[in-house]
């Protein structure tokens, strides 16, 4: 990304986040579930963003293996790192919501929750694999293969709620479309756009830092 676009992306993320928070608390109605439903707008947006990050990481890993494009491995790594950060947020916000709704921080009988945890732990283990191998082509290739394998868990995690027998986790997006009112849907879309733009901003900031780090390392080697 060109350097002058990053401040624009940051400004967009800031504007959308401010708009989303304002809409969640002042525009979207308090539905039958009560005030606690306000957690939904960011919790689900963050979960979808985590899926997007993992998917993007897998795509970049595929590009690395297919075209051997320089930098694709680093992009895959940063995307998966973002996915793990948003994964932590999904688990934390979900647990807070669960404590209020179900009286428990975690419910092992819910396939949706357990499958998301499996997906999260799978990608958390990516870093253990990556840093257990010395820097070079072997590390890049093995990390890429691992990242691609993990992407299979995304549709499984997404569909788990529809396949599951339990009804503890609420279903909002069904085959008949989203089960939301007009203003609720608009608020959700703005929240999703806000979280996605925040993730994109964090991704580009971290990527710029990593690239700068690598360039400084090669400069140090040249000057040594």
């Amino acid at each position: 990304m060109r350097a002058n676009r990053l401040p624009l992306l940051a400004a967009l993320a800031l504007g959308l986040t401010a708009a989303a928070i304002a809409m969640v608390f002042f525009y979207a109605p308090v539905d039958a579930d009560g005030f606690n439903q306000k957690i939904f707008y960011f919790h689900v947006s963050i979960a979808l963003t985590a899926y997007v990050c993992f998917g993007w990481g897998a795509w970049k890993a595929f590009v690395h293996l297919w075209k051997r494009k320089p930098g694709a491995d680093l992009e895959s790594y940063v995307a998966i790192h973002q996915g793990v950060i948003f994964g932590v947020l999904v688990l934390v916000t979900g647990s807070i919501w669960a404590r209020y709704r179900w009286g428990h921080w975690w419910v092992w009988s819910s396939n949706q929750l357990v499958l998301f945890l499996v997906l999260f732990l799978f990608y958390a283990a990516y870093f253990m694999l990556r840093y257990s191998i010395e820097e070079g082509a072997r590390r890049e290739n093995l990390s890429a293969v691992y990242a691609i394998f993990g992407v299979v868990l995304i549709p499984v995690s997404w569909l788990a709620i529809h396949l599951a027998q339990d009804i503890i986790h609420p279903v909002v997006f069904t085959s008949h479309g989203p089960q939301l009112g007009g203003s609720e849907l608009v608020t959700f879309v703005v929240s999703l756009a806000a979280v996605l733009s925040l993730a994109a901003c964090m991704y580009h900031v971290e990527l710029a830092g990593k690239r700068l780090d690598a360039r400084l390392r090669s400069l140090r080697e040249l000057l040594a």
Partner: protein
């Protein structure tokens, strides 16, 4: 403040804190990169000062 409001606040605060921690980590990294750039700059200056003058004087014009 009702119990539901407390839980909603906690969830939004958790998001805010995680983003803030991320910003802090990036700020620490930037500080390290800045220090490394300063070190490399110093190294380049020292090397340039040690290099012997090899340029020859030539007539201009």
């Amino acid at each position: 403040m009702t119990t539901a409001e407390k839980y909603v606040t906690a969830a939004y605060l958790a998001v805010f804190v995680v983003v803030l921690v991320y910003v802090l980590i990036i700020a620490l990294k930037l500080t390290r990169l800045e220090r490394e750039v300063a070190e490399l700059e110093q190294l380049a200056r020292v090397r340039k000062a040690r290099e012997p003058e090899t340029r020859k004087a030539i007539a201009v014009g």
